[in-house]
């Protein structure tokens, strides 16, 4: 199954929302027997998960949730979403159901919106990622830091262990020089404004790495008036090849940048 999440932003004008579908995008590769799902929003308090049942989505139906519709104690938390057959009563673990098996991946529309525009991407966190010890190599050509524009780096981490563990991330230039280091946390929608970190706009690609943990790397840009927004994730390293032993090339790339 897949988990989903709300993106948070320090600018109070920006609202976070998500479109959830209880059906796959294509039935060609998804033979799932659909059932009604209970939408749970949840966050980690550092020790346990805090779940809240939000609504039920009938099979073949869909639902849009704005983060500001959630209970007040969820508003300033990194909130994730799971779709479950039964209502969750055990807060000690994530329930990983055998559901949402699909090609292409079963996704949700993850969106940030201002008063006058919006930006989104089709995203998900596969449950397999919550069980693995990940690392991160994200090469992004999407940094925009011209006058009146800010780009933010999100790293969305969800781990089956509800603890909030600190880990180090680096920002490198193409010469493998570390230009910035910071600490992020597991089970958190981590966000970093790149304005005063990346100053050389002549370099078109920056590399975001972590030896310790991984997650979904997302790049969000906005102008000062929030009239123009951009949101996209970077491909995992496997996407630079097709067919065959793609994991070999992922390892090559990770070894090079994490060395």
């Amino acid at each position: 199954m897949n988990y989903f999440f709300f993106l948070d932003h320090p600018d109070n004008e920006l609202r976070s929302s998500i479109d959830l579908f209880n059906k796959p995008p294509s039935k060609t590769w998804s033979k799932e027997k659909l059932y009604n799902v209970n939408v749970h929003v949840f966050y980690s308090d550092g020790i346990k998960w805090k779940f809240h049942y939000f609504k039920t989505i009938k099979k073949n139906d869909y639902l849009t949730i704005n983060k500001d519709e959630l209970p007040i104690d969820f508003q300033n938390k990194s909130v994730f979403i799971s779709l479950n057959k039964d209502k969750i009563t055990d807060s000690s673990k994530l329930i990983n159901e055998n559901y949402m098996n699909s090609i292409p991946a079963w996704r949700a529309n993850i969106k940030l919106k201002s008063k006058s525009t919006a930006c989104s991407y089709q995203g998900e966190i596969p449950s397999s990622l919550t069980e693995k010890n990940l690392s991160l190599v994200s090469c992004s050509p999407m940094v925009q830091l011209e006058k009146n524009i800010n780009t933010y780096f999100y790293l969305v981490n969800l781990n089956s262990n509800p603890g909030k563990i600190k880990f180090k991330i680096n920002v490198l230039n193409k010469n493998k020089e570390i230009i910035y280091t910071d600490n992020f946390y597991t089970n958190t929608i981590n966000i970093l404004n790149l304005k005063n970190i990346i100053t050389n706009l002549n370099e078109k690609m920056y590399i975001f790495t972590s030896k310790d943990k991984g997650g979904v790397p997302i790049y969000f840009s906005k102008n000062d008036t929030n009239t123009s927004l951009s949101l996209e994730h970077t491909h995992p390293p496997t996407e630079y090849t097709i067919h065959g032993n793609r994991i070999f090339f992922q390892k090559e790339k990770k070894n090079f940048w994490l060395d």
């Binding site: 060609t28 590769w29 525009t117 690609m205 996209e232 067919h243 090339f249 090559e252 090079f256």
Partner: protein, 269 residues
Amino acid sequence: MNNNSIKTTVFRNKYSLYLRNLFNIKPVDTYRPLYNEACVSDFFYWSSNKNFDTKFMLTNISSHILPKTPQNDNVIFIIYNESGNILKKFEIVLSPYETKEIVFSKLNIKGYGSFFVFHKFSKINNLSSHGSFVAERGYVGYKKNNGIWNFMHGNYNACYLNKKNKIKSIISKSFFTQFYCPQVTFNDTKNFKIIINNPTNSKIKINIECFDKLKKIVVSKSNYIKIFNTFIFEFNNKDVDFIIIKSKILFCRPLILKEYKTNFDIFHG
């Protein structure tokens, strides 16, 4: 030859895959290129006019796949207009780890269409020993007036250049109509576009049905799209909640452009 090798030979050769796809029997989304040193490219959308621009972030892809082997990357760019005619074809050499911006307004072309980006580098044979091919799934920025660049990555693996530099499609099609439902709602805008291009080797028919919240069809549009053509389905209806795309393409994922008051959102469905 053991049983597994026989199975692989019989069920995974190009003729078997074609038949499997045609009749929806364990179909595959893309075929394998028939040339070991092939580079696969998406068929990326572009648009350039007085109020709109496109840029492609062209990077040395060898540095991403074989970073320990610094080498130049020879790139062939082929740009088509909406009617499938080549507007521009040019080559660029990238040094190791280099990234360049290709801004369409600076290429002196106007209109819209789609483009391929094929890479070639000398030590590409390291890939074929692992059964893999280079794939250009890169990042395209779109910009309206004085807005910021709105980025989107590639949509799907589409075509490759064969040994004779001919473009070959790897897109799978079926005999049966396929249904694709992007997992996104449309009730936050009344103006949106569904952009579909055709990187297959024959004309395709696309039918888009738009449903309201009661799951009733409120508008339906269809069109035939010729090889390497790009077609924009424009909608202006505040009652549309979700859409379904019908075609014979097994993986017919569209580009979606939603218009808002001051800017737009663009993403793959």
